[in-house]
Protein backbone atom coordinates (compact mmCIF):
# COMPACT_ATOMS: atom_id res chain seq x y z
CA UNK A 1 0.00 0.00 0.00
CA UNK A 2 1.07 3.56 -0.51
CA UNK A 3 1.41 5.55 2.75
CA UNK A 4 0.80 8.82 0.88
CA UNK A 5 -2.61 7.57 -0.20
CA UNK A 6 -3.37 6.54 3.38
CA UNK A 7 -2.52 10.04 4.53
CA UNK A 8 -4.71 11.53 1.83
CA UNK A 9 -7.65 9.36 2.90
CA UNK A 10 -6.83 9.74 6.59
CA UNK A 11 -6.88 6.03 7.18
CA UNK A 12 -4.55 3.23 8.34
CA UNK A 13 -4.86 -0.57 8.34
CA UNK A 14 -5.71 -0.34 12.03
CA UNK A 15 -8.63 2.01 11.51
CA UNK A 16 -10.71 0.75 8.65
CA UNK A 17 -13.99 2.44 7.80
CA UNK A 18 -16.73 -0.08 7.20
CA UNK A 19 -19.83 -0.22 5.06
CA UNK A 20 -18.42 1.90 2.24
CA UNK A 21 -18.43 1.70 -1.54
CA UNK A 22 -15.28 3.26 -3.01
CA UNK A 23 -15.21 4.03 -6.71
CA UNK A 24 -11.79 4.14 -8.36
CA UNK A 25 -11.72 5.95 -11.65
CA UNK A 26 -8.93 6.68 -14.10
CA UNK A 27 -8.87 9.05 -17.05
CA UNK A 28 -5.99 9.22 -19.53
CA UNK A 29 -3.80 7.26 -17.17
CA UNK A 30 -3.52 3.82 -15.58
CA UNK A 31 -5.35 3.64 -12.28
CA UNK A 32 -4.40 0.06 -11.47
CA UNK A 33 -1.96 1.29 -8.80
CA UNK A 34 -5.07 2.16 -6.77
CA UNK A 35 -6.24 -1.45 -7.03
CA UNK A 36 -2.87 -2.73 -5.83
CA UNK A 37 -2.94 -0.21 -2.99
CA UNK A 38 -6.35 -1.29 -1.72
CA UNK A 39 -5.58 -4.99 -2.13
CA UNK A 40 -2.47 -4.76 0.03
CA UNK A 41 -4.19 -2.30 2.41
CA UNK A 42 -7.11 -4.58 3.21
CA UNK A 43 -4.93 -7.70 3.46
CA UNK A 44 -2.72 -5.88 5.96
CA UNK A 45 -5.86 -4.74 7.80
CA UNK A 46 -6.77 -8.41 8.36
CA UNK A 47 -9.94 -8.24 6.26
CA UNK A 48 -11.35 -11.14 4.29
CA UNK A 49 -10.93 -10.14 0.65
CA UNK A 50 -12.74 -11.43 -2.41
CA UNK A 51 -10.85 -10.18 -5.47
CA UNK A 52 -12.61 -10.43 -8.83
CA UNK A 53 -9.56 -9.99 -11.06
CA UNK A 54 -10.56 -9.77 -14.71
CA UNK A 55 -7.58 -7.92 -16.14
CA UNK A 56 -4.34 -9.57 -15.04
CA UNK A 57 -3.17 -12.97 -13.92
CA UNK A 58 -2.74 -14.04 -10.32
CA UNK A 59 1.04 -13.96 -10.58
CA UNK A 60 0.97 -10.34 -11.77
CA UNK A 61 -0.96 -9.18 -8.73
CA UNK A 62 1.20 -11.39 -6.52
CA UNK A 63 4.45 -9.87 -7.78
CA UNK A 64 3.17 -6.33 -7.27
CA UNK A 65 1.72 -7.33 -3.91
CA UNK A 66 5.09 -8.62 -2.75
CA UNK A 67 6.65 -5.25 -3.52
CA UNK A 68 3.93 -3.68 -1.40
CA UNK A 69 4.52 -6.08 1.46
CA UNK A 70 1.83 -8.77 1.08
CA UNK A 71 1.92 -12.32 -0.24
CA UNK A 72 -1.23 -13.24 -2.14
CA UNK A 73 -0.20 -16.90 -2.18
CA UNK A 74 -0.05 -17.03 1.61
CA UNK A 75 -3.30 -15.08 1.94
CA UNK A 76 -5.05 -17.45 -0.44
CA UNK A 77 -3.75 -20.54 1.30
CA UNK A 78 -4.90 -19.43 4.72
CA UNK A 79 -8.32 -18.49 3.45
CA UNK A 80 -8.03 -14.72 3.80
CA UNK A 81 -8.11 -14.15 0.05
CA UNK A 82 -10.61 -15.59 -2.43
CA UNK A 83 -9.23 -14.91 -5.89
CA UNK A 84 -11.30 -15.18 -9.08
CA UNK A 85 -8.75 -15.23 -11.90
CA UNK A 86 -10.90 -14.06 -14.81
CA UNK A 87 -8.34 -14.76 -17.51
CA UNK A 88 -8.03 -18.41 -16.50
CA UNK A 89 -11.58 -19.24 -15.46
CA UNK A 90 -13.11 -17.60 -18.54
CA UNK A 91 -11.88 -20.58 -20.51
CA UNK A 92 -13.30 -23.05 -17.94
CA UNK A 93 -16.82 -21.79 -18.70
CA UNK A 94 -16.76 -23.49 -22.07
CA UNK A 95 -15.33 -26.79 -20.86
CA UNK A 96 -17.81 -27.67 -18.16
CA UNK A 97 -21.42 -28.76 -18.25
CA UNK A 98 -23.80 -25.88 -18.71
CA UNK A 99 -25.89 -26.88 -15.71
CA UNK A 100 -23.08 -26.14 -13.29
CA UNK A 101 -23.22 -22.48 -12.37
CA UNK A 102 -20.08 -20.47 -13.05
CA UNK A 103 -19.43 -16.90 -11.96
CA UNK A 104 -18.61 -15.87 -15.53
CA UNK A 105 -21.66 -17.63 -16.94
CA UNK A 106 -22.59 -14.53 -18.92
CA UNK A 107 -19.74 -15.27 -21.36
CA UNK A 108 -21.62 -18.30 -22.55
CA UNK A 109 -25.00 -16.67 -23.05
CA UNK A 110 -26.00 -15.35 -26.45
CA UNK A 111 -27.78 -12.31 -25.09
CA UNK A 112 -25.95 -11.23 -21.99
CA UNK A 113 -28.22 -11.73 -19.05
CA UNK A 114 -27.36 -10.58 -15.62
CA UNK A 115 -24.44 -11.03 -13.28
CA UNK A 116 -26.38 -13.01 -10.69
CA UNK A 117 -23.94 -15.99 -10.82
CA UNK A 118 -21.04 -13.61 -10.17
CA UNK A 119 -22.95 -12.05 -7.26
CA UNK A 120 -23.64 -15.51 -5.83
CA UNK A 121 -19.93 -16.33 -6.09
CA UNK A 122 -19.08 -13.18 -4.12
CA UNK A 123 -21.82 -13.94 -1.60
CA UNK A 124 -20.47 -17.46 -1.06
CA UNK A 125 -16.89 -16.19 -0.74
CA UNK A 126 -17.56 -13.48 1.80
CA UNK A 127 -20.47 -14.76 3.88
CA UNK A 128 -19.72 -14.73 7.59
CA UNK A 129 -18.63 -18.08 9.00
CA UNK A 130 -21.20 -19.97 11.02
CA UNK A 131 -18.79 -20.56 13.87
CA UNK A 132 -19.76 -17.16 15.25
CA UNK A 133 -16.20 -16.06 15.99
CA UNK A 134 -14.94 -13.69 13.32
CA UNK A 135 -11.48 -14.63 12.12
CA UNK A 136 -11.24 -11.56 9.91
CA UNK A 137 -12.08 -7.95 10.52
CA UNK A 138 -14.69 -7.35 7.78
CA UNK A 139 -15.42 -8.62 4.28
CA UNK A 140 -14.09 -6.66 1.31
CA UNK A 141 -14.94 -7.05 -2.37
CA UNK A 142 -12.40 -5.71 -4.86
CA UNK A 143 -13.12 -5.64 -8.60
CA UNK A 144 -10.56 -4.98 -11.34
CA UNK A 145 -12.28 -3.76 -13.33
CA UNK A 146 -15.95 -3.15 -14.16
CA UNK A 147 -15.40 -1.49 -17.55
CA UNK A 148 -14.16 -4.76 -19.05
CA UNK A 149 -17.56 -6.30 -18.31
CA UNK A 150 -19.08 -3.81 -20.74
CA UNK A 151 -16.53 -4.86 -23.35
CA UNK A 152 -17.56 -8.48 -22.76
CA UNK A 153 -21.15 -7.69 -23.66
CA UNK A 154 -22.75 -7.08 -20.28
CA UNK A 155 -25.09 -4.09 -20.23
CA UNK A 156 -24.41 -1.10 -17.98
CA UNK A 157 -27.67 -1.67 -16.07
CA UNK A 158 -26.66 -5.30 -15.38
CA UNK A 159 -23.31 -4.16 -13.97
CA UNK A 160 -25.08 -1.52 -11.86
CA UNK A 161 -27.45 -4.20 -10.55
CA UNK A 162 -24.48 -6.40 -9.64
CA UNK A 163 -22.82 -3.56 -7.70
CA UNK A 164 -26.20 -2.73 -6.12
CA UNK A 165 -26.57 -6.26 -4.78
CA UNK A 166 -22.94 -6.32 -3.58
CA UNK A 167 -23.54 -3.03 -1.80
CA UNK A 168 -26.74 -4.30 -0.19
CA UNK A 169 -25.11 -7.51 1.01
CA UNK A 170 -21.44 -6.74 1.61
CA UNK A 171 -21.71 -3.09 2.70
CA UNK A 172 -25.09 -2.88 4.36
CA UNK A 173 -25.73 -6.36 5.76
CA UNK A 174 -22.20 -7.48 6.56
CA UNK A 175 -20.70 -4.03 7.21
CA UNK A 176 -17.92 -4.66 4.72
CA UNK A 177 -16.48 -2.58 1.89
CA UNK A 178 -16.62 -2.68 -1.88
CA UNK A 179 -13.90 -1.17 -4.06
CA UNK A 180 -14.26 -1.14 -7.85
CA UNK A 181 -12.28 0.37 -10.70
CA UNK A 182 -14.00 1.94 -13.73
CA UNK A 183 -12.22 3.64 -16.61
CA UNK A 184 -13.39 7.04 -17.74
CA UNK A 185 -13.58 7.01 -21.50
CA UNK A 186 -13.39 10.81 -21.55
CA UNK A 187 -14.03 12.13 -25.03
CA UNK A 188 -14.60 8.69 -26.51
CA UNK A 189 -18.38 9.13 -26.07
CA UNK A 190 -18.97 5.67 -24.71
CA UNK A 191 -22.58 5.96 -23.54
CA UNK A 192 -22.70 2.67 -21.67
CA UNK A 193 -19.50 3.46 -19.78
CA UNK A 194 -20.79 6.93 -18.90
CA UNK A 195 -24.01 5.47 -17.51
CA UNK A 196 -21.96 3.00 -15.47
CA UNK A 197 -19.56 5.65 -14.21
CA UNK A 198 -22.24 8.18 -13.29
CA UNK A 199 -24.54 5.53 -11.83
CA UNK A 200 -21.73 4.30 -9.59
CA UNK A 201 -20.83 7.88 -8.75
CA UNK A 202 -24.28 8.32 -7.22
CA UNK A 203 -23.96 5.07 -5.25
CA UNK A 204 -20.43 5.62 -3.91
CA UNK A 205 -19.37 7.02 -0.58
CA UNK A 206 -15.94 7.95 -1.94
CA UNK A 207 -14.69 8.56 -5.46
CA UNK A 208 -10.95 8.46 -6.13
CA UNK A 209 -10.03 9.77 -9.54
CA UNK A 210 -6.60 9.43 -11.11
CA UNK A 211 -6.11 11.79 -14.04
CA UNK A 212 -3.34 12.13 -16.54
CA UNK A 213 -1.60 15.49 -16.50
CA UNK A 214 -3.23 18.08 -18.73
CA UNK A 215 0.15 18.77 -20.26
CA UNK A 216 0.63 15.17 -21.36
CA UNK A 217 2.87 12.32 -20.35
CA UNK A 218 5.85 13.02 -18.12
CA UNK A 219 8.54 10.58 -17.07
CA UNK A 220 8.44 11.22 -13.34
CA UNK A 221 5.00 12.58 -12.69
CA UNK A 222 2.27 10.58 -14.37
CA UNK A 223 -0.89 12.16 -13.14
CA UNK A 224 -2.79 13.77 -10.32
CA UNK A 225 -5.23 12.13 -7.94
CA UNK A 226 -8.51 13.75 -6.97
CA UNK A 227 -10.89 12.59 -4.26
CA UNK A 228 -14.50 13.48 -3.50
CA UNK A 229 -17.06 12.03 -1.16
Amino acid sequence: MFPELNNLLNTTPDQVEQGKLTLLCDAKTDGSFLVHHFLSFYLKANCKVCFVALIQSFSHYNIVGQKLGVSLTTARECGQLVFLEGLKSAVDVFFRPQEEPHPLQFLREANSGNLQPLYEFVQEALKPMDSGEAAWRCPVLLVDDLSVLLSLGVGAVAVLDFVHYCRATVCREWKGNVVALVHDSGDAEDEENDILLNGLGHQSHLILRAEGLATGFCKDVHGQPKGSS
Binding site: H164, Y165, A168, R172, I195, N198, G199, G201, H202, I207
Partner: protein, 300 residues
Protein backbone atom coordinates in the same frame (compact mmCIF):
# COMPACT_ATOMS: atom_id res chain seq x y z
CA UNK B 1 -38.88 27.58 -0.84
CA UNK B 2 -40.15 24.18 0.35
CA UNK B 3 -43.73 25.44 0.61
CA UNK B 4 -43.67 26.78 -2.93
CA UNK B 5 -42.29 23.48 -4.23
CA UNK B 6 -45.13 21.55 -2.59
CA UNK B 7 -47.83 24.10 -3.35
CA UNK B 8 -48.77 22.97 -6.83
CA UNK B 9 -49.17 19.28 -6.08
CA UNK B 10 -48.65 16.64 -8.73
CA UNK B 11 -45.16 15.54 -9.73
CA UNK B 12 -42.14 17.44 -8.39
CA UNK B 13 -39.06 16.41 -10.34
CA UNK B 14 -35.70 16.81 -8.57
CA UNK B 15 -32.90 16.64 -11.14
CA UNK B 16 -29.49 16.12 -9.58
CA UNK B 17 -26.00 15.09 -10.60
CA UNK B 18 -23.01 13.34 -9.05
CA UNK B 19 -21.55 16.71 -8.10
CA UNK B 20 -24.77 18.20 -6.66
CA UNK B 21 -26.79 15.47 -5.03
CA UNK B 22 -30.52 15.80 -4.54
CA UNK B 23 -31.34 13.25 -1.85
CA UNK B 24 -30.89 15.83 0.93
CA UNK B 25 -33.45 18.13 -0.71
CA UNK B 26 -35.78 15.16 -1.17
CA UNK B 27 -35.51 14.38 2.53
CA UNK B 28 -36.07 18.05 3.39
CA UNK B 29 -39.31 18.00 1.35
CA UNK B 30 -40.35 14.74 3.01
CA UNK B 31 -39.75 16.27 6.43
CA UNK B 32 -41.83 19.31 5.45
CA UNK B 33 -44.71 17.10 4.29
CA UNK B 34 -44.56 14.97 7.41
CA UNK B 35 -44.61 18.06 9.63
CA UNK B 36 -47.75 19.20 7.78
CA UNK B 37 -49.44 16.02 8.93
CA UNK B 38 -49.19 14.10 5.68
CA UNK B 39 -48.37 10.45 5.49
CA UNK B 40 -45.29 9.80 3.35
CA UNK B 41 -44.75 6.66 1.31
CA UNK B 42 -41.20 6.14 0.09
CA UNK B 43 -40.32 3.72 -2.67
CA UNK B 44 -36.67 3.16 -1.76
CA UNK B 45 -34.53 1.65 -4.52
CA UNK B 46 -31.11 3.14 -3.94
CA UNK B 47 -30.47 3.25 -0.21
CA UNK B 48 -31.44 0.99 2.65
CA UNK B 49 -34.25 1.91 5.02
CA UNK B 50 -31.84 2.56 7.91
CA UNK B 51 -29.75 4.89 5.81
CA UNK B 52 -32.81 6.77 4.56
CA UNK B 53 -34.31 7.25 7.99
CA UNK B 54 -31.01 8.61 9.38
CA UNK B 55 -31.33 12.22 10.44
CA UNK B 56 -35.10 12.18 10.95
CA UNK B 57 -36.42 12.28 14.49
CA UNK B 58 -38.94 9.72 15.70
CA UNK B 59 -41.88 12.05 15.13
CA UNK B 60 -41.07 12.25 11.42
CA UNK B 61 -40.08 8.60 11.14
CA UNK B 62 -43.44 7.48 12.47
CA UNK B 63 -45.13 9.13 9.49
CA UNK B 64 -42.83 7.48 6.94
CA UNK B 65 -43.72 4.18 5.30
CA UNK B 66 -40.68 2.72 3.54
CA UNK B 67 -41.31 0.27 0.71
CA UNK B 68 -37.99 -1.55 0.44
CA UNK B 69 -36.82 -2.15 -3.11
CA UNK B 70 -33.18 -1.86 -2.05
CA UNK B 71 -32.48 -5.18 -0.44
CA UNK B 72 -33.67 -7.51 -3.20
CA UNK B 73 -35.27 -5.62 -6.07
CA UNK B 74 -34.83 -8.36 -8.69
CA UNK B 75 -35.59 -11.34 -6.40
CA UNK B 76 -32.10 -12.81 -6.66
CA UNK B 77 -32.11 -14.05 -3.09
CA UNK B 78 -35.33 -16.02 -3.50
CA UNK B 79 -35.93 -15.77 0.23
CA UNK B 80 -39.39 -14.36 -0.26
CA UNK B 81 -38.40 -11.03 1.27
CA UNK B 82 -38.54 -9.18 -2.04
CA UNK B 83 -41.59 -7.04 -2.83
CA UNK B 84 -43.90 -9.25 -4.88
CA UNK B 85 -44.11 -8.46 -8.56
CA UNK B 86 -40.94 -6.41 -8.65
CA UNK B 87 -40.60 -2.65 -9.08
CA UNK B 88 -43.58 -2.11 -11.41
CA UNK B 89 -45.99 -3.89 -9.13
CA UNK B 90 -44.65 -1.97 -6.15
CA UNK B 91 -45.27 1.29 -8.00
CA UNK B 92 -48.78 0.26 -9.04
CA UNK B 93 -49.55 -0.78 -5.47
CA UNK B 94 -48.87 2.83 -4.44
CA UNK B 95 -51.50 3.93 -6.96
CA UNK B 96 -54.02 1.56 -5.46
CA UNK B 97 -53.53 2.52 -1.82
CA UNK B 98 -56.75 3.64 -0.26
CA UNK B 99 -55.57 5.57 2.81
CA UNK B 100 -57.61 8.70 3.27
CA UNK B 101 -56.05 12.09 3.66
CA UNK B 102 -53.28 14.00 1.95
CA UNK B 103 -50.28 11.91 1.07
CA UNK B 104 -46.79 12.38 -0.30
CA UNK B 105 -45.13 9.69 -2.37
CA UNK B 106 -41.35 9.87 -2.73
CA UNK B 107 -39.57 7.89 -5.45
CA UNK B 108 -35.91 7.30 -4.64
CA UNK B 109 -35.12 7.17 -7.35
CA UNK B 110 -36.93 7.71 -10.62
CA UNK B 111 -33.62 6.98 -12.35
CA UNK B 112 -33.53 3.49 -10.95
CA UNK B 113 -37.10 2.88 -12.11
CA UNK B 114 -36.35 4.37 -15.53
CA UNK B 115 -33.34 2.05 -15.97
CA UNK B 116 -35.41 -1.01 -15.10
CA UNK B 117 -38.83 -0.25 -16.59
CA UNK B 118 -39.87 0.86 -20.07
CA UNK B 119 -40.16 4.63 -20.22
CA UNK B 120 -43.76 4.59 -21.48
CA UNK B 121 -44.92 2.27 -18.69
CA UNK B 122 -43.23 4.41 -16.08
CA UNK B 123 -44.70 7.62 -17.48
CA UNK B 124 -48.22 6.16 -17.58
CA UNK B 125 -47.94 4.92 -14.00
CA UNK B 126 -46.56 8.26 -12.83
CA UNK B 127 -49.42 10.05 -14.55
CA UNK B 128 -51.92 7.84 -12.73
CA UNK B 129 -50.08 8.31 -9.46
CA UNK B 130 -49.99 12.09 -9.58
CA UNK B 131 -53.59 12.46 -10.73
CA UNK B 132 -55.08 10.47 -7.90
CA UNK B 133 -57.01 13.33 -6.40
CA UNK B 134 -59.28 13.28 -9.43
CA UNK B 135 -59.57 9.48 -9.39
CA UNK B 136 -61.05 9.22 -5.93
CA UNK B 137 -64.50 10.69 -6.42
CA UNK B 138 -65.29 11.03 -2.75
CA UNK B 139 -62.08 12.79 -1.69
CA UNK B 140 -62.31 16.46 -0.87
CA UNK B 141 -60.85 18.88 -3.45
CA UNK B 142 -58.30 20.11 -0.92
CA UNK B 143 -56.52 16.75 -0.74
CA UNK B 144 -53.56 16.70 -3.01
CA UNK B 145 -51.12 14.00 -3.87
CA UNK B 146 -47.51 15.09 -3.96
CA UNK B 147 -45.19 12.86 -5.92
CA UNK B 148 -41.52 13.64 -5.39
CA UNK B 149 -39.19 12.02 -7.90
CA UNK B 150 -35.41 12.06 -7.66
CA UNK B 151 -33.78 11.88 -11.10
CA UNK B 152 -30.06 11.61 -11.86
CA UNK B 153 -29.75 13.65 -15.04
CA UNK B 154 -26.55 12.17 -16.42
CA UNK B 155 -27.95 8.67 -16.63
CA UNK B 156 -30.62 9.29 -19.24
CA UNK B 157 -30.94 10.58 -22.74
CA UNK B 158 -32.93 13.62 -23.79
CA UNK B 159 -36.00 11.54 -24.76
CA UNK B 160 -36.81 10.04 -21.35
CA UNK B 161 -35.78 13.26 -19.59
CA UNK B 162 -38.13 15.25 -21.77
CA UNK B 163 -40.97 12.79 -21.22
CA UNK B 164 -40.63 12.98 -17.44
CA UNK B 165 -40.20 16.72 -17.57
CA UNK B 166 -43.50 17.10 -19.43
CA UNK B 167 -45.29 15.21 -16.65
CA UNK B 168 -43.93 17.42 -13.88
CA UNK B 169 -45.78 20.38 -12.42
CA UNK B 170 -42.61 21.56 -10.72
CA UNK B 171 -39.08 20.89 -11.86
CA UNK B 172 -35.99 21.57 -9.72
CA UNK B 173 -32.54 21.37 -11.29
CA UNK B 174 -29.71 21.29 -8.78
CA UNK B 175 -26.36 22.88 -9.39
CA UNK B 176 -24.10 25.27 -7.56
CA UNK B 177 -20.85 27.18 -7.40
CA UNK B 178 -18.01 27.53 -4.94
CA UNK B 179 -19.43 24.85 -2.68
CA UNK B 180 -22.87 26.47 -2.48
CA UNK B 181 -25.87 24.58 -3.85
CA UNK B 182 -28.52 26.25 -5.96
CA UNK B 183 -31.90 25.18 -7.28
CA UNK B 184 -33.29 26.37 -10.57
CA UNK B 185 -37.04 25.92 -10.21
CA UNK B 186 -39.57 25.78 -13.03
CA UNK B 187 -43.23 26.12 -12.06
CA UNK B 188 -45.94 24.99 -14.47
CA UNK B 189 -49.08 26.49 -13.05
CA UNK B 190 -52.27 25.54 -14.91
CA UNK B 191 -53.39 28.09 -17.50
CA UNK B 192 -50.34 30.25 -16.86
CA UNK B 193 -46.97 30.59 -18.48
CA UNK B 194 -44.20 28.61 -16.80
CA UNK B 195 -42.21 30.70 -14.35
CA UNK B 196 -38.59 30.34 -13.30
CA UNK B 197 -36.80 31.03 -10.07
CA UNK B 198 -33.25 30.43 -8.88
CA UNK B 199 -32.60 29.96 -5.18
CA UNK B 200 -29.32 29.40 -3.32
CA UNK B 201 -29.72 27.16 -0.30
CA UNK B 202 -28.13 24.75 2.10
CA UNK B 203 -29.58 21.74 3.88
CA UNK B 204 -28.86 21.52 7.59
CA UNK B 205 -28.09 18.18 9.32
CA UNK B 206 -31.70 17.92 10.56
CA UNK B 207 -32.96 18.35 6.96
CA UNK B 208 -34.36 21.80 7.40
CA UNK B 209 -33.57 24.24 4.63
CA UNK B 210 -31.66 27.49 4.95
CA UNK B 211 -31.80 30.02 2.14
CA UNK B 212 -28.58 31.71 1.09
CA UNK B 213 -28.03 34.95 -0.77
CA UNK B 214 -25.54 33.53 -3.21
CA UNK B 215 -22.22 31.77 -3.51
CA UNK B 216 -19.67 32.85 -0.93
CA UNK B 217 -17.17 35.46 -2.15
CA UNK B 218 -13.70 34.07 -2.59
CA UNK B 219 -11.89 34.69 0.69
CA UNK B 220 -9.53 37.67 0.49
CA UNK B 221 -6.19 37.24 2.20
CA UNK B 222 -6.00 39.89 4.91
CA UNK B 223 -3.05 42.31 4.47
CA UNK B 224 -0.54 41.94 7.28
CA UNK B 225 -0.92 45.10 9.42
CA UNK B 226 2.72 44.99 10.54
CA UNK B 227 4.35 45.41 7.14
CA UNK B 228 4.08 49.04 5.93
CA UNK B 229 2.62 49.31 2.45
CA UNK B 230 5.40 50.14 0.06
CA UNK B 231 5.17 52.63 -2.77
CA UNK B 232 5.99 50.54 -5.83
CA UNK B 233 7.05 53.63 -7.83
CA UNK B 234 10.15 54.21 -5.73
CA UNK B 235 13.51 52.91 -6.91
CA UNK B 236 12.52 52.60 -10.55
CA UNK B 237 15.14 52.58 -13.29
CA UNK B 238 12.93 54.55 -15.67
CA UNK B 239 10.86 57.74 -15.62
CA UNK B 240 7.14 57.46 -15.01
CA UNK B 241 6.51 61.18 -15.29
CA UNK B 242 7.68 63.89 -17.66
CA UNK B 243 8.66 67.43 -16.74
CA UNK B 244 7.17 70.37 -18.71
CA UNK B 245 10.30 70.85 -20.82
CA UNK B 246 10.54 67.13 -21.57
CA UNK B 247 6.88 67.09 -22.63
CA UNK B 248 7.40 70.04 -24.98
CA UNK B 249 10.46 68.41 -26.52
CA UNK B 250 8.51 65.20 -27.00
CA UNK B 251 5.57 66.92 -28.66
CA UNK B 252 7.76 68.87 -31.07
CA UNK B 253 9.72 65.84 -32.17
CA UNK B 254 9.18 64.74 -35.75
CA UNK B 255 9.07 60.99 -36.01
CA UNK B 256 11.47 59.50 -38.56
CA UNK B 257 8.84 57.82 -40.72
CA UNK B 258 6.22 60.53 -40.50
CA UNK B 259 5.86 62.16 -43.94
CA UNK B 260 5.35 65.89 -43.48
CA UNK B 261 5.44 68.68 -46.06
CA UNK B 262 8.89 69.77 -44.81
CA UNK B 263 10.25 66.34 -45.48
CA UNK B 264 8.73 66.31 -48.93
CA UNK B 265 10.40 69.61 -49.82
CA UNK B 266 13.73 68.41 -48.48
CA UNK B 267 13.55 65.34 -50.68
CA UNK B 268 12.46 67.13 -53.84
CA UNK B 269 14.83 70.09 -53.83
CA UNK B 270 18.45 69.49 -53.14
CA UNK B 271 19.97 71.89 -50.65
CA UNK B 272 21.90 74.99 -52.00
CA UNK B 273 25.52 74.28 -52.57
CA UNK B 274 25.12 70.54 -52.24
CA UNK B 275 26.12 68.52 -55.25
CA UNK B 276 23.32 66.52 -56.77
CA UNK B 277 23.87 62.80 -56.81
CA UNK B 278 24.79 61.02 -59.97
CA UNK B 279 24.50 57.47 -61.07
CA UNK B 280 27.30 56.16 -63.26
CA UNK B 281 26.41 53.04 -65.24
CA UNK B 282 28.56 50.97 -67.56
CA UNK B 283 26.35 48.67 -69.67
CA UNK B 284 27.37 45.03 -70.06
CA UNK B 285 27.82 43.27 -73.38
CA UNK B 286 24.50 41.46 -72.80
CA UNK B 287 22.47 44.45 -71.81
CA UNK B 288 19.60 45.30 -74.06
CA UNK B 289 19.07 49.00 -73.85
CA UNK B 290 15.67 49.54 -75.28
CA UNK B 291 14.67 53.18 -75.29
CA UNK B 292 11.02 52.36 -75.71
CA UNK B 293 8.86 52.70 -72.64
CA UNK B 294 7.38 49.26 -71.87
CA UNK B 295 4.26 50.89 -70.50
CA UNK B 296 3.45 52.69 -73.75
CA UNK B 297 0.89 50.11 -74.78
CA UNK B 298 -1.10 50.55 -71.62
CA UNK B 299 -4.26 52.45 -72.16
CA UNK B 300 -4.09 54.63 -69.06
Amino acid sequence: MLESLLALGGLVLLRDSVEWEGRSLLKALIKKSALCGEQVHILGCEVSEEEFREGFDSNINSRLVYHDLFRDPLNWSKTGEALPGGPLEALRALCRRTDPGPVTIALDSLSWLLLHLPCTTLCQTLHTLSRQDSCHGDSSPGEQVHVLGLLHEELHGPGPLGALSSLAQTEVTLSGALGQASAHILYRRPQQRPSHQTQWFSILPDFSLELQRGPPLESQPYPDPHTPSMDPTTHLTFNLRLSKKEREAKDSLTLPFQFSSEKQQALLCPGLGQPTSHIFYEPDAYDDLDQEDPDDDLDV
